[in-house]
Structures are given as structure tokens and as C-alpha cells.
């Protein structure tokens, strides 16, 4: 594949990667701009029927896997805290530690990754299939703007869904952590809840939700972008899904990092 001269290989690769990254970011920005235009009331606004359909498909049907993930995450956090709890005798901190980490960091992060795999990938596959089967061209021929009809309801639905799922996940994770703490570390229910409620602030919960909002927006934009710009027929659909999932995952980590530092 690489036809570059050996001496030039690394700069060439770096250059290509940088260009690809920039063109992707540029494409995302353009899509976001189009979305902004499509959302204005005089442009037709949001298609309510489509929105509800996507909310159901993306949200309601993701609840089982998200809930299971969250329950395990809560449990794992307690499990990881166990040695330190035993070392420092800090039973009072278990509840706080588990909920703080889950609410602020791991909850949004893991739910974001699963959401990306489930809903983001699916979304790209769906849009890409519509493109290669010329359905999108069909919409254009009917003077229907694909951005306002296809992309806008998806982006809104995915962002809302992501926030709602993190809320659900937080609640379930709390239960998972509670269970493991009680069984494994002999931390009583009251002790756990007292520790969590007295030290945890509303802000900690909000940080997680802000992250969810960012992730949801990022995943939805990325997946729509990759779906719509698919090339090369049916095999291209697989490539588009792959590219979208990976780009979103990378985006999630970068956004997570930035928001961890920017939101104290």
C-alpha cells in the first residue's frame, strides 16, 4: 500500500493522517452548520414523528444492555476499592468512592462506548445503506432535505437518549455497588448511603450528565457524517461503520479528558 520512499515514509504517513483528521473535523463542522440551519423553524424544524420513532428505537431498546453494564460497573468499582478500604479501614468512603467515580467518570464513559457500538454503529449502517441503495438521492429528488429529515431527528434523539441512559445507568450502578459492598465488604446499607449522600454533590451528578450530552452529540454527528459520506457500494457500508465507531470512540476519550479537566 505504501509506495512512499523509505526516507519520506513517516512524514508522509503523518501528513496523510493529519489531512484525513482535518477533513473529518471539517466535514463534521459543516454538518453541524447544516443542522443548525435545518433546525430553524422557517426551515421546517424538527420532524416529531421521526424523533419519537428514533427515541424509542435508540433509547428504550438500549436500556437492558446499559442497565446491565451500569450494574457491573458499580460492582467493579467497589471491588477495586476493596483493598484500600481494608488497608485504610475506610469503610465510610466506599459509598462515596463508588458513586463518585461511576457518576463522574466511568458511567458516562462506559455507557458512551456501549452506546457508540450499539446505536452509533447502527445509525451509520442505516444511513450508509440508504446512500448506497440511492434512497438519499430519492429524497433529494423529492425536494426533501436529507439533513433535516434524516440527520436532525437522529442527532436530537441520540443526544437526549444518551443523557437519559446515563441517568438510568447511575441509578442502576448505585444498586450494583450497594449489593457488592454489602456482600463482599460487609458495608451496611445505611453506611453506604450515608457516605454517598453526605459527600456527593449535585455537581458530581451534573458533570456526568454534561459529559453524556457531549458524548451523545459527538457520537450522533460522527455516525451521521460517516454514514452519509459512504463510498464504494455495499463493502463501503462495512468500512463506514468501522470508521465511525473508531472515530467516535477516540472522540469520547478526548472529550472525556477535556471535560474532566475543565469541569472541576
Amino acid at each position: 500500500m505504501s509506495t512512499a520512499e523509505p526516507g519520506w515514509a513517516l512524514p508522509a504517513i503523518l501528513g496523510r493522517r493529519t489531512l484525513a483528521l482535518l477533513s473529518q473535523l471539517g466535514g463534521l463542522a459543516l454538518l453541524a452548520r447544516d443542522l443548525g440551519r435545518a433546525a430553524r423553524p422557517e426551515a421546517g424544524g424538527l420532524d416529531r414523528v421521526e424523533l419519537v420513532r428514533h427515541l424509542h428505537r435508540m433509547g428504550v431498546r438500549s436500556v437492558p444492555v446499559i442497565a446491565a453494564t451500569a450494574a457491573f460497573t458499580g460492582g467493579i468499582m467497589v471491588l477495586q476499592a476493596a483493598p484500600f478500604v481494608e488497608q485504610f479501614g475506610a469503610k465510610d468512603f466506599v459509598g462515596f468512592f463508588a458513586t463518585f467515580v461511576t457518576f463522574r467518570e466511568l458511567g458516562p464513559l462506559l455507557i458512551g462506548l456501549i452506546f457508540n457500538g450499539r446505536v452509533g454503529a447502527n445509525n451509520t449502517a442505516e444511513l450508509a445503506t440508504m446512500v448506497v441503495t440511492e434512497q438519499v438521492d430519492g429524497l433529494r429528488a423529492l425536494a426533501i432535505d436529507p439533513v433535516s429529515y434524516l440527520v436532525l431527528p437522529r442527532v436530537v434523539a441520540m443526544t437526549l437518549t444518551m443523557v437519559a441512559l446515563v441517568l438510568v445507568g447511575d441509578a442502576v450502578a448505585l444498586l450494583g455497588a450497594l449489593g457488592v459492598a454489602q456482600v463482599l465488604l460487609d458495608v451496611s446499607l445505611a453506611q453506604f448511603l450515608d457516605s454517598a449522600l453526605s459527600r456527593l454533590e449535585t455537581w458530581d451528578l451534573l458533570v456526568g450528565l454534561v459529559k453524556a450530552l457531549l458524548f451523545g452529540l459527538g457520537i450522533s454527528l460522527t455516525s451521521c457524517f460517516h454514514g452519509l459520506r459512504v463510498r464504494g457500494g455495499a463493502p463501503g457500508v462495512g468500512r463506514a461503520v468501522n470508521a465511525s465507531v473508531v472515530a467516535s470512540a477516540a472522540g469520547i476519550f478526548v472529550a472525556d479528558y477535556l471535560s474532566t479537566f475543565l469541569l472541576p
Partner: protein
């Protein structure tokens, strides 16, 4: 391959998938320990897959793990401030957490996204273009020729990638400790709390997750049906299934580790 298609998403479908996964796992493991046949071509397939898994995911994983390391270090230090009077233990705690769990368990999720999606898309398109049937017509067992090389490659190279990623995360963590909290790098980069059990548990997790990614994604890819849409669906299910399997395995391994390889 299977003539019964339970409706997707239902509990019956989940049970069916689980049964297929167990079957595939058993056959792959049987083949992994059986004497090799096939010679040069088989060796080439193994080398190719190793290269692919390592090459495909290394840059992505290095970037991702740097962010993960920075986030974990930041949070560990932030929380320690609440509990402990001084920050001298933060580095040792961070290192222990990273080795014992987070490098493998958090790193495996982006790895699953990257590698799992690739495997499922590749095998899925081989199924829908009838290449897998063509293999069977020529007495080439798909498990032996397709799944086994991917399994071995994921176990070996998955471990390598995750260990390298762990070091990157460690480096990023030390940097954050220094810059954001003013902890001397020499104090921070401490292995005081680390023991052999932590390393063993961490490596066991890496290898198990690698194998799980290969098996879950191969199973989903091989059961793809229905054109490019089917491949997209298989990819989605592979990513979600792999992530979810990793989280479940983490609970099992962490619980087992808690008793068999105690942290302290």
C-alpha cells in the same frame, strides 16, 4: 448455518447467541491445542492476523490510553486529597489500580471497538459473499482457517497492545501528577504497593479479554445474513457483545482475583 432465526433482540435470540458462542469457543480451544496441520499457509495466516491486530490498533490505543492514564491519575489524586493528608501514596495507588485492573479493563473496550468491529465486518462480508461456503466446499473448516488465527492473534497481540498501552497510561499519569498536583515524578512512579499477584491478574485479564473479543466478534460475523445491512448489524452486535463480555469477565476475574490473588 443455523436454520432457526429467533427474532433479534429477544431473550431467545440472546440464549441462542450464547449457545453458539460457547460452541465456537469450545471448538476453537480444541483446535488451538490440537496438533497443527496446514503448514506454510496456516503460519502465514497467523502472522498476518498478528500484524493486523497489532498494527491496526496500536496508534489508536496509544492515544486512547494516554488519555485514560491522565484521567485516572487526575481522579485518583483528586479523591486522595479528600481522604488522605498527603499525596505521597497517590502514585503507588494509581500504579496498582492500573496494573491490577484499569489498563486491561478500560483499555480492552476501545480495543474491542477497533479490533472486534474489524473482525465482524471482515467475516460478515465473507459470509454474505458466500466465501465461507466456498471454503467449506473445499474442505477448509472456517473455524480452523478463519477463527483460530484471529483468536491466537487477539490473545497474543491483544496482550501486547494492552501492556504497551498500560505503560503509556502510566507515563501520562505521572505527567499529570507532576503538572496538575506537583507530585515529584520519582515519588509518583512508585511500585511500592505492587505485588506479583497484581501483575498476574492484570496479564490474565489482558489475554482473556483478547480471546473474548476474537470469539464474540467471529461468532457474530459468521452468523451474519442479509447483505450489507447484515454485515452492519453483525458489526454493531460484535462491538456491544465484546464490550459487554469484557465487563462481565471483569466482574468474574476481579472477584476471583480478590480471593485468589489478594491485593495486599
Amino acid at each position: 448455518m443455523a436454520t432457526a432465526f429467533p427474532s433479534p433482540g429477544s431473550l431467545a435470540a440472546l440464549r441462542f447467541q450464547l449457545r453458539e458462542l460457547v460452541k465456537l469457543t469450545r471448538r476453537t480451544l480444541e483446535m488451538a491445542v490440537a496438533p497443527r496441520r496446514g503448514g506454510r499457509a496456516a503460519r502465514r495466516a497467523f502472522a498476518e492476523q498478528m500484524h493486523l491486530v497489532g498494527n491496526r490498533s496500536m496508534p489508536f490505543m496509544i492515544v486512547t490510553m494516554a488519555f485514560i492514564g491522565a484521567i485516572i491519575s487526575f481522579q485518583t489524586a483528586l479523591q486522595s486529597q479528600e481522604i488522605l493528608p498527603d499525596l505521597s501514596q497517590v502514585g503507588a495507588t494509581f500504579t496498582k489500580l492500573l496494573v491490577r485492573d484499569l489498563a486491561a479493563s478500560v483499555g480492552a473496550l476501545p480495543l474491542a471497538t477497533r479490533v472486534g468491529a474489524g473482525i465482524a465486518a471482515e467475516l460478515g462480508s465473507m459470509v454474505v459473499t458466500e466465501q465461507v461456503d466456498a471454503l467449506r466446499m473445499n474442505n477448509a473448516d472456517p473455524v480452523e482457517t478463519l477463527v483460530l488465527p484471529r483468536f491466537v492473534a487477539c490473545v497474543v497481540m491483544g496482550t501486547v497492545v494492552l501492556v504497551v498501552g498500560g505503560f503509556v497510561a502510566f507515563g501520562a499519569g505521572v505527567l499529570v501528577g507532576q503538572v496538575a498536583f506537583g507530585i515529584e515524578a520519582r515519588t509518583f512512579a512508585s511500585t511500592a504497593l505492587l505485588n506479583g499477584g497484581d501483575v498476574a491478574l492484570g496479564l490474565a485479564k489482558c489475554a482473556t479479554y483478547g480471546g473474548a473479543i476474537a470469539l464474540v466478534s467471529s461468532e457474530r460475523g459468521l452468523s451474519a445474513f442479509g447483505g450489507s445491512e447484515g454485515v452492519g448489524r453483525a458489526t454493531t452486535e460484535a462491538v456491544v457483545g465484546s464490550c459487554f463480555t469484557i465487563i462481565v469477565l471483569n466482574v468474574l476475574l476481579s472477584t476471583g482475583g480478590h480471593f485468589l490473588l489478594p491485593a495486599l
